[in-house]
């Protein structure tokens, strides 16, 4: 199955996402902000990145730009976690190279549907 990086500053969201993805057999790497994400994927290639936007140290948009600048992550699907009220952020994300987004709140089923959409 696929290797998925999930980046979120809230532990409960990370737990929920990785538990859900684990349950269908994906391998999950976790990071609590953009900086940590860049560190944990160093020298690694993942199949999908799911990242929150609002995070300390390095936010999701900056992470997105940094990932797209890496040869290994030029075309990797990267999904942003957004809320309905964040249209402007979504636009910023698109410009920075986001593949798509997952609207919060979402349940495990919705998450798996979106992941399936991206990974097949």
């Amino acid at each position: 199955m696929a290797t998925i990086l999930t980046v979120d500053d809230t532990a409960s969201m990370r737990q929920m996402i990785s538990f859900t993805l684990h349950s269908v057999g994906h391998e999950v790497i976790q990071a609590s902000d953009g900086q940590e994400a860049l560190k944990v994927i160093e020298g690694k290639k993942v199949d999908l990145v799911i990242a929150d936007i609002n995070m300390p140290n390095m936010d999701g948009i900056t992470l997105l730009k940094s990932l797209r600048a890496l040869a290994d992550y030029k075309f990797t699907p990267i999904l942003m976690l957004t809320t309905e009220s964040q249209d402007a952020k979504r636009q910023q994300g698109k410009v920075a190279g986001a593949t798509g987004w997952i609207v919060k709140p979402f349940n495990p089923e919705q998450l798996l549907n979106v992941v399936k959409k991206v990974l097949g």
Partner: protein, 682 residues
């Protein structure tokens, strides 16, 4: 796929409470910047606002995901306001910051309600929400009750034609037409043709760009929205036409309301441990395994030539065990900031109520202490700080008159010192007035009017149960209500409180606490055939008894004269009804112990040595016994009692009170000699 979301609730609650603490601290920081520039408006550091916003945002996201809709709705109100502040659409002033602080309280009570399944105070929350609306928070009235899910109504079989021409840069967002077609084909029967007319010549072709476009036909009972949804991520990156042969049936979107199912899970206490601590633990276990392997190899073919190696191995085992013990204990250690975090808010609220100006300076909050201690330390700490603020710090006018800066200072300092954690609460207020405390104590009949007391003894009066309750706050410059409770709380943690004070200069409370409640540094003593453990902290010294110095005044209690001081002498053998090795006082030793500023001498047969013991509660296994605080199991498997020094001294003095007020006198030259005492090993 059914995943029980309740398993994530505990983490969500914990991080939400942490988030609220962060919000509170940052809001107070915001307000301080306002006080600093003397204006009502707050100079908003964008990073502070961002941090506050992030916490509110995370709580909102989490609560809506985990189904706590009323928490989410309120967090949304807060978030919108913060967003407006962050974007500069509105400016933070003290009133807004005050309101945001109230909102943090509301959010906390909502989360507590969600956690415990109890009702929160709807009235108070609604009141705060209305105030936000008054502020003109545009979206305050719009609660998020859940996700709008589009449920396309099944329409009649429709024939769709879809033209899809991506921008050349589409791949750069990680999107792939293949994925889109895969999803599209799931909606119905699909036929697609590729238009390659956009392909450039080979030399000009950039493999990272997309030159193709597609023409698809889709047959199925599928709504336009469902098709558009497939393309939703790339809508801005392509030309898309969805053309229908039949008129689509209008679809309705239904708002699904997320159900808030408050978890009524039994409260499970969890501990968050930093990874380096766990790493250290694993590391030590690794060392232990190596040592164990070495020892078993050594003993498998043991010859006496290897005896020194065996000893070396055992030494290593001892070291490993000690390290393991330390690592495990460290897991329970939390930084004191967990307790200190509550104080800035308290000082803020109280100083406003009392019209006083106070700076709270906190240092050493990274000092770590056992979690149990932290939990039980919060109340006494709040009490002490409240006292400093209420009784110590003077109103601004009085301070100016006394030639002090208008703003008072309360300093909270924590540090580690020889196996203890010390917390100092120091204010630069008016200090304790000995005469008033003395008069008050006389008035209340706690001491005779002609008593001669040293400053330390006068401070002791503050901790007497009867003392404070009768004192009204405005009546005396001393400390107020319930200091006896503070002290007994700290005593129950195995610590103590001391006071130093200088009239007009301020007061300092010094709280001394053990690092942990699970392990005790003790001295083992022998009485008859029994071993007892005496907490090392309470030992002053031990002396050989000079028979001349023992007196037995009328009343039966033996007193021992030690450097002009008479101490009650307590024979442990009598107290615990064991047969001593000898009743002749010169055959044993006198251990001088001290607690709460009082001393006593314990007569024992012998001192065995200093050792760390693991504390086992006696009350859970047996019942409470006077003079004994707990039990432990020794290396040879026998059970030893740990002596309760405070209790023993009380018992000793109860017998001796009638005799000598002079025995309370303090001596200046006694140091703690336990460090260089040479134990005799039996």
């Amino acid at each position: 796929m059914a995943i029980d979301m309740r398993q994530f609730h505990q983490t969500f609650f914990e991080e939400s409470f942490e988030g609220l603490t962060v919000m509170e601290a940052e809001l107070l920081r915001l307000e301080r910047t306002a006080s600093a520039n003397g204006h009502d408006t707050v100079s908003a550091d964008p990073e502070i606002l961002n941090t506050i916003f992030r916490s509110a945002h995370s709580i909102k996201g989490g609560s809506s995901t985990f189904g706590f809709s009323d928490v989410a709705a309120f967090a949304h109100v807060l978030e919108s306001r913060l967003d407006a502040l962050r974007d500069g659409r509105s400016l933070p002033d003290r009133r807004v910051v005050g309101l945001l602080l109230l909102a943090v309280d509301c959010l906390r009570s909502l989360i507590i309600a969600a956690k415990t399944g109890k009702q929160s105070d709807q009235g108070a929350i609604e009141a705060v929400r209305l105030q936000f609306e008054k502020l003109g928070s545009e979206s305050a009235a719009l609660p998020v009750t859940g996700k709008t899910s589009t449920q396309p109504r099944a329409s009649a079989t429709t024939h769709w034609r879809i033209l899809f021409r991506p921008n050349p840069k589409m791949f750069h967002t990680g999107n792939d037409p293949l994925r889109i077609f895969r999803e599209l084909s799931g909606l119905g029967k699909m036929k697609t043709t590729v238009d390659i007319s956009g392909l450039p010549s080979w030399e000009q072709l950039n493999p990272e760009e997309c030159y193709l476009s597609w023409n698809s036909e889709l047959v199925g009972s599928v709504a336009r929205e469902a098709i558009a949804d497939v393309f939703s991520w790339v809508l801005d990156d392509c030309r898309l036409e969805i053309i229908s042969n039949t008129m689509p049936v209008p679809t309705l979107s239904q708002r699904s309301v997320a159900e808030a199912v408050a978890s009524i899970d039994a409260h499970t206490d969890t501990l968050r441990v930093s990874v380096p601590k766990v790493d250290a633990l694993i590391n030590t276990v690794g060392e232990l395994v190596i040592t164990q392997t070495m020892l078993s190899q050594l003993t498998a073919n043991f010859t006496f030539d290897n005896l020194s190696k065996l000893f070396a191995g055992l030494e290593q085992l001892e070291r490993n065990t000690r390290e393991l013990q330390e690592s495990v204990m460290r897991i329970r250690m939390l930084p004191l900031s967990f307790a200190f975090n509550r104080l800035p808010r308290l000082v803020h609220d109280m100083s406003q109520k009392l019209d006083k100006k106070v700076d709270l300076i906190i240092s050493g909050e990274q000092t770590e202490i056992d979690k149990t201690v932290i939990d039980r330390l919060i109340d006494p700490l709040l009490h002490l700080v409240r006292n400093s603020l209420d009784h110590g710090i003077e109103p601004p006018a009085e301070r100016i008159a006394a030639g002090k800066p208008q703003t008072g200072t309360i300093e909270l300092k924590a540090y580690q010192k020889s196996g203890n954690v010390i917390i100092e609460i120091r204010d630069d207020g008016r200090g304790l007035r000995h005469d008033r405390i003395f008069d008050k104590a006389v008035e209340q009949g706690l001491i005779p009017a002609d008593a001669k007391l040293s400053p330390d003894e006068i401070y002791e009066l503050i901790f007497l149960p009867g003392f404070s309750t009768a004192v009204t706050v405005s009546d005396i410059s001393g400390r107020g209500v319930g200091m006896d409770v503070v002290r007994s709380n700290i005593h129950s943690l195995g610590g103590n409180v001391e006071i130093t004070s200088q009239a007009g200069q301020g007061t300092c409370f010094i709280v001394r606490l053990p690092l942990t409640l699970a392990i005790l540094d003790g001295l083992s003593l022998q009485v008859g055939t029994h071993t007892y453990i005496l907490p090392l902290v309470s030992i002053v010294e031990s002396v050989r008894i000079v028979p001349d110095q023992v007196s037995r005044p009328a009343g039966g209690v033996e007193l021992y004269g030690l450097r002009k001081e008479y101490l009650p002498l307590l024979r442990l053998s009598d107290l615990f009804h064991v047969m001593p090795r000898s009743t002749d006082l010169t055959q044993g030793l006198l251990v001088i112990v001290e607690a709460d500023g009082k001393k006593a001498g314990l007569y024992v047969d012998d001192l065995l040595g200093q050792q760390q013991v693991v504390i086992k509660s006696l009350e859970t296994h047996y019942r409470k016994v006077d003079g004994i605080s707990a039990a432990t199991i020794l290396g040879d498997g026998t059970v030893a009692m740990i002596l309760d020094v405070t209790g023993l001294i009380r018992m000793a003095h109860a017998g001796a009170t009638r005799l000598t007020p002079a025995s309370h006198g303090r001596i200046q030259d006694t140091g703690r000699h336990t460090g260089n005492m040479t134990p005799t090993i039996n």
